[in-house]
Symmetry: C4
Subunit: 384 residues, 4 copies
C-alpha cells in the first residue's frame, strides 16, 4: 500500500477464525458410514483424530486410558499437579474450591511446588497400565532434562509445547532448547507446538518431528491476544501450517501430522479445522466438561498460574456429558457440542470425502461470517 | 495467496447472507400494480412464487389447499407424522406438549413409528380433494420406493430433498439414489434439493429435473453449520445456482426453477433472494406462525428427530397472523413479516421490473451490512 | 467473479453507512471561525445547510419560520395532517395519545381524511407570514395537481418526494409523473427525491431540477430495507450522487444541490455526509426531539400510515433540547447530538476547509468501522 | 471506482484499530529477559517506553516523579487545574463530587478560572524536585506565550498538543501557531500532536521536532468521531506515521519518536501499537485507574470542559492497582490490564525481537477481528 504522500505502508493480511468460515458441500456426496477418520503420528494410528489437551483438569492417567479406548490420544502434562504431588487430586480440589477472587493466588501457590522425578515415572506407568499409547507434554525449557526420564519410564510420544515454539530460540540461559540436541536423546516420536505460520512450521519440520500443534491465541477471547497482542485465528493458521506440511512432503520430507489445538468447541469447529488441512485436533474445554475429567467441572490453562503475567483463569465449565457422548453421541443437544466424530463423518460425506486426505482435497472453505440477528431463534427451526 | 515463505495457501471466497446485502433502486420505476410474480415449475404456473416447507408443523392437506387458493404451493412431507399415524394431530400435540428439556427424546420417539404406505395414498388424496396441485417430499434414500406410490396416488410434483443432494451419491447400501434410475419411474415434474453451488446445480439439472431448492445451513444460526461446519449463506448460494440455471439454458437445457429455501423471515429477505436470481422461495417458520399451521405455534425441523445427531429442535414461534395476511396483508406490523407479496411487488417497482425475469436482470445487489447501532430505534421514524 | 465451474456470477459492490467511515484530518488546519457553511438551492442561499424533513411531527408553519431564522429551511408536507384538517394539532394529538399496540390503525385512520385544497393555500400563507422561504413537499402522483396550487399560493420551492423517484416512471394510471409535463407548470425551483445512484441522479438532473435528496432505506434499522430489501447506505449513496452532480456540471449542466436525507443523528453523521459530497442535509428525528416540534416528543414516517404495507411506526423520541441548541449549541451532551453546525465547522477546520466546496475536495474518508468493545466506556475519557 | 454510468467515485481505504489486528509470532523466539524496551526523545532515554497523558486526573508533580522512578515520563498539562488554582486538589474534588447530570457544567466552570503564570513556574519546579525529566503540555494557541515561561522554569520537554495539529494552520487571529516562530524561542526537545497521516507527519517532522503523538479520535467510542466524524483508527494511524518517520530518516532527517496516544487499554493494545511502528505510547485511562492518580478513580478529557462543544465527560474508572503493578506487575488480572511492560517483553520474545527497532522489523500484523461469540467464556480456559 502506498500512502497519499507516496510513502510505502505495511499491508495487513486478513485472517479467519472458525466463526467466520463455512464448508461448501461438494458435487459428490457419500454415505457417512463410509467416512474413515484415521490420524497417524509416527508409527501410531488413531481411529479418532482427536487429542485431549495436556491440562491438569482434563488428562490424568485414567482419562488417557479412556481416550485410548475411544480411539484417540490423551496427552498428560509432565509439569502439572500430577508430577508435583503424591496426591494430585487434593491439589486439584484446592483449585476448584478456591473462592473466585483468590483463585489466581491459589493457582500460583499450587504450581509453586517442585516437580518430582519419581512421580514422572509413576504417572507414565499408570497411563501404560491402561493399555494406552502414552503421550506426555513438557515445556521447551525442561525438554532436555525430562524427555529422557519420560522415555525411560515408557512414554511413547513426547509433546514439546509452549505458547510459541520455534526451531531457533535465543536465550542467554540454560532455557534455550536446541532440537538438534534434544532429538538424539529420545527415540520416540516428537510432537511440537505451538506454531501458526508456514515458515516457522517448515523450520520445525526440518528438525525431524512427527507432529505439529497449531494455535497461538486462538479464539476471540483467548487472553494471550488480550495480554500480548499475539495470535492468529485458527482457520488461517491451520491453512498456513498445512501448506507447510504439503510443501515439506513435496521437498522429500516425511508427512508431519498437523494438529489444530485450541478454540474448538463444536463439531462445526472440528470439521472446519480438518477441512482447512489439519490431520487431527487437540481439544480442551469440551473435554473438561465431561463427567470423567479430573477437574470435575472446572478448567484452567497452564499459563494461568504464571507468577507475573497470568494468562487465563479457572473457569466453571460444568460436567455435562460423558466423553463417549461428546465424541460419538448420541447427542441430546443441538448446538454441535456432542457427537463430534459423527459430525465429522457427516461433514465429510457432504463433500464426498471418504478419508481425511480426501477431505483436505475436496473441502472448499468460504468466508461466511456469523452475524447475530434478531431472527436467529426463529431460524433454528428450519429444515437442516 | 502466497505465504511469506513462498508457499501457496488456499484462498477463501467471501459469501453473503440476506442481512449483508441490499437491493439498489433502478433508473426506471414502475407502479407496483404492474408487478407480475409468476413462478413456473414444469407445466404448473403459480401466481404466488412461494412454496411452503415440507415440515409437519406447517403443511398438512388443509394447509396445502389454502396455499393453492392463495396462488402458491404447499409441499407435504411423505416421511413425517402424516404418513406414520392415522391420527397425526395427536402425535403433533405430543411434540407441542413435551417439556422443553425432554423434547428431543419425544421427537425421536414420535418419528420412530414406521411409515405406512396406505397413509401416503390417503394424504395425497386429501390434498387433491382441496383442488390443489399436490407436491410431496421424499428423501433420496426413499425416493425410488415412495415416488411411484405417490404418483400412483395422484401426486403432481415430487420433491426429493435432503440436507445436501447431489447427482452423484456414493453409498455401499441401497440408500444411494441414482436419478437415472428414478426419473424413468415417474412421469411428473421433479424438484430436488438442497444445493448451493454452480457445479452441483449443473449436474443436477442434467438429470432432467424441473426445480432446484437452494440452501444448506442458511441463516446465521442454522445448526447444520454449528454441527458440521457445512453451509453457504443464501444470497451467494442463490447467485451461484441461478448462474448455473442461466448457463444450462444457454447450453440448450430447459429452464429449471430455482427456489431459495431457508432463512427467509421478511419481505426484504424474499426480495433479496429473488433479486439474487431465485424464481421463487420456500418458506418455513413465517408459515409456522400462521393461525392455519397445524403446529399451532410450534415448529421443528425434519432433522431434529435424528437419533444420533439431532440438528434443530422444537421452538415456540407463536401463531400471530393468518396465512393470507402473511402473504398479502394488510399488515399490522412494520418489521417486514407481513404482506410478503406486496413487499415483493413494491421492491420490483423500485427497480422498474414488471416480471421476475426483469427483476433478475435489473436488480443490482450491493453489500450493505446491517450494523447494530445505539441510534437504531430513533432511525425507525425516518421517511421511508 | 467466476465460479469453480467457469460460470460467471454477479459481483457485489461493498457500500458504506455513516457508522463505518471516518474523516481523515488534513495537512492544513484552519480556525473554525473561518468555516462558511452556505447551501444554495436555485436562487436561494442558506447559511445553515440543513433542511427539516417534511414530516408532520416536525415541520408546521411555525417550525418553518424558526428554521428560516436559524439560517436553514423547513419543508412542509402538503399531503399530511396540515392540509387534511382545519385543526391539525388535534389529529397529531390523536396519534401521540394512541396506545402503542393500536397506533398503526390510528395512523391509517388519521391519514384517510381527504386533502383540502384551501388548506394548502392557507398553510403556505402561514409559512410566508413568518418571513421564511417556503418549501413544500408533494408526492410524484400528486405533483402535477398540487404544485400549481402551491406556487399560486406563494410556495418558493417545490419538493417532489417519494421513497424512490426516477425520471422515468412507468404506470398504467394517472399516477405516473412526467417531469417534462410538470416543469412547465411551475416557475420555482424543484427539489426531487429520493435517489441513490449516479445514473438515476444524472437522469433527474437532466430534467432541470435544482436539488436532489439522497437516501433510500438509510440507516441500519430503516424498515424499507426490512420490508422490501431496497436501500443503499448513505455514505456510498452520497458519494455516487455527488459524482453525478460533478459529472453533470462537467457536461455543461447547472450545479444541482445534493442533500443527504435520512439516518443523520449526530454532528459526526452530518460531517460525513458533507465530506462525502453533499451540499446539505435533511434531518428528521433530531428535529422531532426539539421543544418546538409539533410532534411533542413523538415522530412517525410518512409511509407509516400506508394501509397495506406500513413501513415505520410512531416512536417516542422525547423532547430534549431547543432547535437552536441542536443546531448551534451550547451543548450539554457529549454524544454529538447537539451543536451540529459547530461540529461541522470544527470538522471543516480539521481538514483545512473554509467552504463546503473545499471540504468536498480536501476531506478524505476512510473505512473505519465502529466495533463495540468491552473497553468502550473507558475510552470515552481519552484526550479528544 | 467507476459507477455503472461510467462516472468515477471516490474510493475508501480500509483502516484498522487495535481490536481488529493481531501480531504473528516469528520464526525465531527469544527469552523475554533479553527484551530491551528503550525510548529516546531528543537526548533523553527512557527504559519504559510509556508516557502518562497530560490530563489533570492523571499527572500531577507527584505522579510525574513516580513515572520517572519507573523509567517512563509523565506529561503535566500547563493549561489545566494545576496552573489555574493554588489548591488544584480542591478543584479536582469539585469535579469528582459533581452529580452525574451536572458534571459538564461543573467542568465548564472549573476550567473557566484563568491560567496563572506563577503557578506554571511553581508546578515545573515541583516536578523537577522529584528528580524527573520534566515534560509539560501546551496547546498550539498558547505555545508561543507559555513555552518560554516553562523552559525558563526548567521544563525539559515541551509537548504542543491539540486534537489535530499541523505544520500549516490558517487563522485570522493570534491563535495561529507557526512552528518557525516557536522553535527559535525554546532550546528543549519538542513533541507535537496529534497527527494520523504520513503527509501531515512529514511536514511536522520538517519543523525540527523530536517526537510526534499519533491519534485522532482513537477507539470505537471516542466522542471526537461521534461529534465531528473525524478520526483514524490507531493501528492504521501508527503504521502511516511510522512510515513517515522512516521516510524522513531516509531523506536525511533525524529520527523522530513516534508515540501512539489514545485507545490503549491492555498490554495487547500497547504491543500492537509498537508492532505497528510506534517507539512508545501515551496512556490515559489505565493510569487514571491507579491508586496514585490525583483523579482518585475519576477521569475526564481536556476537551470535556469546552464551553460550546464538550467532547467527553467525567467517568468513574475506579482506582484498582498501583502504577507499578500496571507497568510491571505482578498481575492479579488476566485481561491484560496489568504488567504492560512484562506483556511487551513477552510479545517481543514471541517474534524474536530484542529491541523495539527489531520489533518494528520483525512483527507482522494481520487483520484478525475480535468477534463476540457465545462460546467466549469457555475459550478463556484454553492453553495460552
Amino acid at each position: 500500500m502506498v500512502s497519499s504522500s507516496g510513502v510505502r505502508i505495511k499491508e495487513l493480511r486478513r485472517t479467519y477464525g472458525f466463526e467466520e468460515v463455512a464448508i461448501v458441500p461438494g458435487d459428490v456426496t457419500t454415505n457417512p458410514e463410509l467416512s474413515v477418520t484415521n490420524l497417524k503420528i509416527g508409527p501410531y494410528q488413531f481411529t479418532t483424530p482427536v487429542l485431549a489437551s495436556a491440562m491438569d483438569a482434563i488428562v490424568d492417567p485414567n482419562f488417557a486410558g479412556l481416550m485410548a479406548r475411544l480411539g484417540g490420544l490423551g496427552v498428560m502434562n509432565l509439569e502439572g499437579a500430577y508430577t508435583r504431588y503424591e496426591d494430585p487430586y487434593a491439589a486439584l480440589a484446592d483449585v476448584s474450591n478456591a473462592p473466585k477472587e483468590g483463585v489466581t493466588e491459589v493457582l500460583q501457590r499450587v504450581y509453586a511446588e517442585p516437580l518430582k522425578d519419581h512421580l514422572i515415572a509413576q504417572r507414565i506407568k499408570e497411563v501404560k497400565a491402561t493399555g494406552a499409547v502414552c503421550a506426555v507434554s513438557v515445556t521447551p525449557q525442561n525438554a532436555k532434562r525430562l524427555s529422557p526420564i519420560a522415555v525411560e519410564a515408557g512414554a511413547d510420544i513426547i509433546v514439546v509445547q509452549s505458547t510459541v515454539t520455534t526451531a531457533r530460540h535465543i536465550s542467554n540461559s540454560y532455557h534455550g532448547l536446541r532440537f538438534s540436541e534434544l532429538m538424539p536423546l529420545i527415540s520416540v516420536p516428537v510432537v511440537v507446538g505451538n506454531c501458526v505460520t508456514t515458515s516457522a512450521a517448515l523450520e520445525l519440520m526440518e528438525q525431524g518431528i512427527d507432529g505439529l500443534l497449531v494455535g497461538v491465541g486462538p479464539g476471540a477471547a483467548c487472553t494471550t491476544r488480550d495480554v500480548t497482542g499475539v495470535g492468529v485465528p485458527q482457520v488461517s493458521a491451520t491453512l498456513d501450517v498445512a501448506a507447510a506440511r504439503d510443501e515439506f512432503v513435496e521437498r522429500g520430507g516425511k508427512y508431519v501430522a498437523v494438529i489444530t489445538d485450541g478454540g474448538i468447541r463444536t463439531g462445526g469447529d472440528l470439521c472446519k479445522a480438518i477441512a482447512a488441512g489439519a490431520d487431527g485436533v487437540m481439544i480442551g474445554t469440551p473435554f473438561a466438561q465431561t463427567f470423567e475429567a479430573p477437574g470435575k467441572g472446572f478448567n484452567w490453562g497452564m499459563a494461568s498460574p504464571h507468577p507475573a503475567l497470568p494468562r487465563g483463569t479457572r473457569i466453571n465449565v460444568g460436567a455435562v456429558a460423558s466423553l463417549e457422548q461428546v465424541l460419538f453421541g448420541p447427542s441430546h443437544r443441538t448446538d454441535g457440542t456432542q457427537n463430534l466424530i459423527g459430525a465429522l463423518k457427516i461433514s465429510m460425506s457432504m463433500v464426498g470425502a471418504q478419508t481425511i486426505e480426501e477431505f483436505h482435497e475436496k473441502a472448499e472453505l468460504v468466508v461466511a461470517p456469523t452475524i447475530a440477528t434478531e431472527g436467529k431463534s426463529f431460524q433454528r427451526a428450519g429444515r437442516i
